[in-house]
Symmetry: C2
Subunit: 456 residues, 2 copies
Amino acid sequence: MSKEIPYKIYLEETEMPKQWYNVRADMKNKPAPLLNPATHQPMTIDELSTVFCRELAEQELNTTDPYIDIPQEILDFYKMYRPSPLVRAYCLEKALGTPAKIYYKFEGNNTSGSHKLNSAIAQAYYAKKQGLKGVTTETGAGQWGTALSMACAYLGLDCKVYMVKVSYEQKPFRREVMRTYGADVTPSPSNTTNIGRQILEKFPGTTGSLGCAISEAVEVAVGTEGYRYVLGSVLSQVLLHQSVIGLEAMAACDKYDIKPDMIIGCAGGGSNLGGLISPFMGRKLRGEADYEFIAVEPASCPSLTRGKYAYDFCDTGRVCPLAKMYTLGSGFIPSANHAGGLRYHGMSSVVSQLYDDGLITARSVEQTSVFKAAEQFARVEGILPAPESSHAIKVAIDEALKCKETGEEKTILFGLTGTGYFDMVAYQKYNDGEMSDYIPTDEEIAKSLAQLPVVE
Amino acid sequence: MSKEIPYKIYLEETEMPKQWYNVRADMKNKPAPLLNPATHQPMTIDELSTVFCRELAEQELNTTDPYIDIPQEILDFYKMYRPSPLVRAYCLEKALGTPAKIYYKFEGNNTSGSHKLNSAIAQAYYAKKQGLKGVTTETGAGQWGTALSMACAYLGLDCKVYMVKVSYEQKPFRREVMRTYGADVTPSPSNTTNIGRQILEKFPGTTGSLGCAISEAVEVAVGTEGYRYVLGSVLSQVLLHQSVIGLEAMAACDKYDIKPDMIIGCAGGGSNLGGLISPFMGRKLRGEADYEFIAVEPASCPSLTRGKYAYDFCDTGRVCPLAKMYTLGSGFIPSANHAGGLRYHGMSSVVSQLYDDGLITARSVEQTSVFKAAEQFARVEGILPAPESSHAIKVAIDEALKCKETGEEKTILFGLTGTGYFDMVAYQKYNDGEMSDYIPTDEEIAKSLAQLPVVE
């Protein structure tokens, strides 16, 4: 029955998804609602609409509609860089000598270099549709800021990016890509906001943090006529947009009669993992199929494997709503030696609930083993992977080697979220043997978790 | 008759070319032969085989066979990143308000970031097949060195890259990508060769040149058991391998009944231009169709538009064979303010002969106008183009705007050779308004041409 499977499966344009899939509709246990940080009451649509544009606020709260139409303008933009290929890793399989069949959904073939563009264009589109002038955001490693800059350039929307100062200085090329796309990039903390000025006064010479950059971006969005704040992960709306990854992957699998046994994704805030697994999870939740889902997180920031399922602040500055999630505490800062993204203290509420329900398993991996897997993958499959994506590669290789031992011909699907062109400093450290691992102690995590807000 | 044309046309694997096309077979006036620099007699296969591996030397001298089978191992490697898409630039057309139809063949979706991989894998394959241990090469901007490193890693071949010292220091990330693929990267001039030591003694503190790096790479190849030298452009064998670009583009055009009126490519040594246009030129030479071909070169290194058609050395060190080509003289060095590649003093013998026969036209463009076109393209089409590729974008936009004036619905096809991720220093200069143009004076060119070798 099965057709010969090409190295890379590209869907036809006519086969591309026309709707996003909202996994919350099929979840028996819905993710807990966002709470107002002052009242501890569920955030209303009106409250959320002061920060996010209206249609996105509605998507954030929508736990019932399984499918949401993708507007034509977004479909047109998707056609510029989608469908992304589902690649059969023939060369990696051969190098490993495994009977397993390995596939990866590669999201790096666009200038932003990652899957982030899938949600960036959606969020920018709704902002434009609402007649807004612009959006604000923060960026750490820079993938999200780049994606948003591209989307805003395409739509003619103003884009203000607060970039963590240490990244701004250490990743000047990321900054220049954003500027080439017309974005206004400010190193954070900055003198352009109250919170920035306060932090600079209190900690002169600080190189910034994601939490601080979020606070500045939110302050500017709320305080500027015609602006809203946008975020590249964690939120349920982001997972909704990212479901395009999983929908395409599933359509490609169905077309060629590929039946994955396990689906593996790296997990920071959960945007890629959630997007990749959602439609497959829907089948599992509806009893139509079964899959093993594996979330892979860095050992240096292990929210699922060592965090607590509790309400917490989404940002270090504690200005955002409270979300129930697996968290290490909003004050948790991963070790400075940790390369790449996946540094967020918490995890998407959707992913957290699925994990708590035992529908997803999780593993944490150390970064030197991740870069070793990245190098092995690069040499045989050609693509230079982002450090984030390489977490999934590491576990895919581990599982393929297990199959080699047992002789099982499992089908492994993993998400290759992006490319590592702007991460060569980390690769250099690895190449020079100067990369090390850091695992937070139980005491460190307990100390951070002791600061969780008390929610009755 | 014509089907609806998708944004991106991907051929099926079964539609991918199985043979390279050798345009020399259809040329009435063959390109002039390479000459031995000492005797000024045509290079024999045996002479060439001391520098290149045997099968490549044969390809270099083959002016009669129109098609050469692509070995299965290379076809398998091509499947990892090919077919490359033929993209309809709907968004650019809309932004320009032109009735022209614009297509581009995008070669940047592989980790080397450019079309160079098409020939790198071929050259590495034949070296491996001949039982060699490794290959040596030089790299300036780094695209070729990266591509060759990837190909060698895949085949388990040793790869020694001499990287112009100024690039080695200014483009550390390019260097790290090569190291990640296991290449041995040496800044040139170096102490590892006689010529390097001589140059360092004569010019202490020099930052190197492509000519010096070529000399070092050739010295090591000729002097080391089991090694050969490989080159990423200029040679006829390289154009042969790069014909895969044009063959795919032509197959995609034929499939959707697209009839290009003009085909535009950037031209440094001619590898991309030659590869893209070859199969279309074949049709023109055989009287089956007509196209306008436009070579675009930088105003700072204008070999076609201001050079002389004469025998010249292929390298500044004058150790390589003589080639008849449009040249600015082997001692010509483009201004330091010129960003990106396309810095070679001469032009492929094949392209030169076609140009001399009036079958190709040429234009030179200034770099600030090139970056302006690059930015415009990036903002609407998403892809961040390499500076080299942007020369073709500039002329494609010029031609599309002419169509806007005249109302003509011309079909424009151009080659988008690669991405600009490692060229952000140049983009930054452009973003900061610090980029300038330099056009060599007639006196400078005359002075360089005065040093041409005398060939009877």
